[in-house]
Amino acid sequence: MKIELADISHRYGDAEVLRDISLSIPDGQIVCIVGPSGCGKSTLLRFIGGLEKPSAGQVLQRGEMPAGCLNPLTYIFQDFALLPWRSVSGNVSLVLEDHGIRGRDATKIIDDVLERTRLTDFAHALPRQLSGGMKQRVAIARALAVNPAVLLMDEPLSALDSQTRELLMDDLIMLWGRQPFTAVYVTHNLAEAVRLGHRIVVLSRRPGCIRKVIDIDKPLAERKPGDHDLDAFQQQLWELMRDEARAADAELINA
């Protein structure tokens, strides 16, 4: 399934947040959205997921949903959004229950996604017993359980320390390698963007509009930390963003 954004603009009261965003998210690819903080990345992602409506423009889905897809547009949140009163498997089962999947069918799906995220041994643990990286893996397992057409990730690694972030990036790459998924990945971390993105969209400061779209052809599996090509892309991104980030920073002080 493919997502298309057509001329999206948005304002909150007097503040113009996004201006004329048109973008297409190809099937089976990861599109990273980078930009200075406050430029409207999270807002854009909420539009794509149908959690909010833009003042102008449309979000379109094109093509068929994959078979067995329970929730085509599925989020992974920065702060994990796990129910603290449910165990790891309970958190996954939460999103199946409303589809009438219970008992043996549910167990099959839960076992499968926990295995894919290496959480099988922690099925009965409560979120407070888990480390940050494990919590985010539970959130990923929960998202995989509904067999999504598009994963929407809002800074999924930003709450984690840098070592855990590396590990989870490897996990995401491994999951994508096993079964390529479509994803929109919002981040302010350029290293994450060049590691995970097939396409990187750079937004300007508020009001956010598209400054540049960069495609990286190198397969995900071949991208390693310290890779020279990637460093060059990262440098290029940083040069695009530096002035914007500086200006955005100054703006927040005045606001």
Binding site: G49, L51, L70, N71, L73, T74, Y75, F77, D79, A81, L83, P84, W85, R86, L94, V95, E97, D98, L126, P127, R128, R142, V146
Partner: protein, 266 residues
């Protein structure tokens, strides 16, 4: 340059501000106070009119128990407490959740709740008698009404405090409205609801005495009021102590419920 001059250990200035439960200290305070009263009343520096002798109070209690009157008083009181509080708490939690979820209900009811909260419910007893009769109905109504307002306020506060990102998460996975309320809002509000319940149920016990002021032959409240009107301090104290114990038991029950329901908290 090598360091010179005086060497001092860095003074400790952390600590404190973290009270812990020390077992038995509470008991020691109780025992000491009772022993003091016993000694004072025996030695004569507390006159019998000021304070009854603890051993006499105990004697009165034993008499009450062995005459079988204890349960004759206790059972109707517990009945009133349970029925009244159950009605008040149920309607209170329901109303609180609705206020927490719907703008119109919130705007309509919050000022109303603020207006009825400070009314001493005892003052309305005559009204309840007219509405619900002199029998059990008016007693249930008084206790229910008294527990209703604090429960509502605690519940909608608790619902307001439920993590919005969890609700967004539920919506983003396409959960139904009813599922979000049942599986996210209610468990998330449970800590606040339970701590509100501590206050509501204590108020229910306070109102028990008021409820039994009119036309109750048996009941702890009736027993206390009768003893009070006769200035029978021993019996008055027996009744008051039963209410205290009731309060401790209720608080213990809520504590147990918190342990069971909120074991997910850190």
């Amino acid at each position: 340059m090598p360091e010179q001059g005086v060497v001092r250990e860095v003074a400790f200035r952390g600590g404190g501000f973290a009270p812990k439960t020390r077992r038995r200290v509470g008991l020691v305070v109780f025992v000491a106070l009772i022993a003091l009263a016993e000694w004072g009343t025996r030695a004569g520096w507390i006159s019998a009119l000021t304070l009854p002798r603890p051993s006499d109070v105990l004697q009165t209690f034993i008499e009450l128990y062995s005459s079988g009157l204890l349960f004759k008083h206790l059972v109707p009181s517990l009945m009133r407490l349970v029925v009244g509080a159950a009605i008040g708490v149920t309607i209170g939690i329901g109303t609180g959740v609705l206020i927490g979820l719907f703008s119109y209900i919130r705007s309509g009811l919050v000022p109303l709740i603020a207006a009825i909260f400070p009314i001493p419910k005892i003052a309305l007893l005559p009204l309840f008698v007219i509405w619900f009769g002199i029998g059990e109905g008016s007693k249930y109504a008084l206790i229910a009404f008294g527990t209703f307002t604090p429960t509502v306020v605690a519940t909608y506060g608790a619902v307001d405090n439920v993590d919005r990102t969890l609700i967004r998460m539920g919506q983003s996975f396409g959960l139904t409205w009813f599922s979000i309320v049942r599986k996210i809002v209610l468990p998330g509000a449970m800590p606040g609801i339970l701590s509100g319940l501590r206050i509501s149920l204590a108020i229910a016990i306070i109102l028990l005495v008021a409820a039994e002021m009119l036309g109750a032959e048996y009941g702890i409240g009736a027993y206390i009021l009768e003893a009070g009107s006769l200035y029978d301090l021993e019996r008055l104290f027996v009744g008051v102590i039963i209410l205290s114990v009731l309060g401790v038991v209720v608080s213990g029950l809520i504590g147990a419920a918190e342990k069971r329901l909120l074991n997910w908290r850190v």
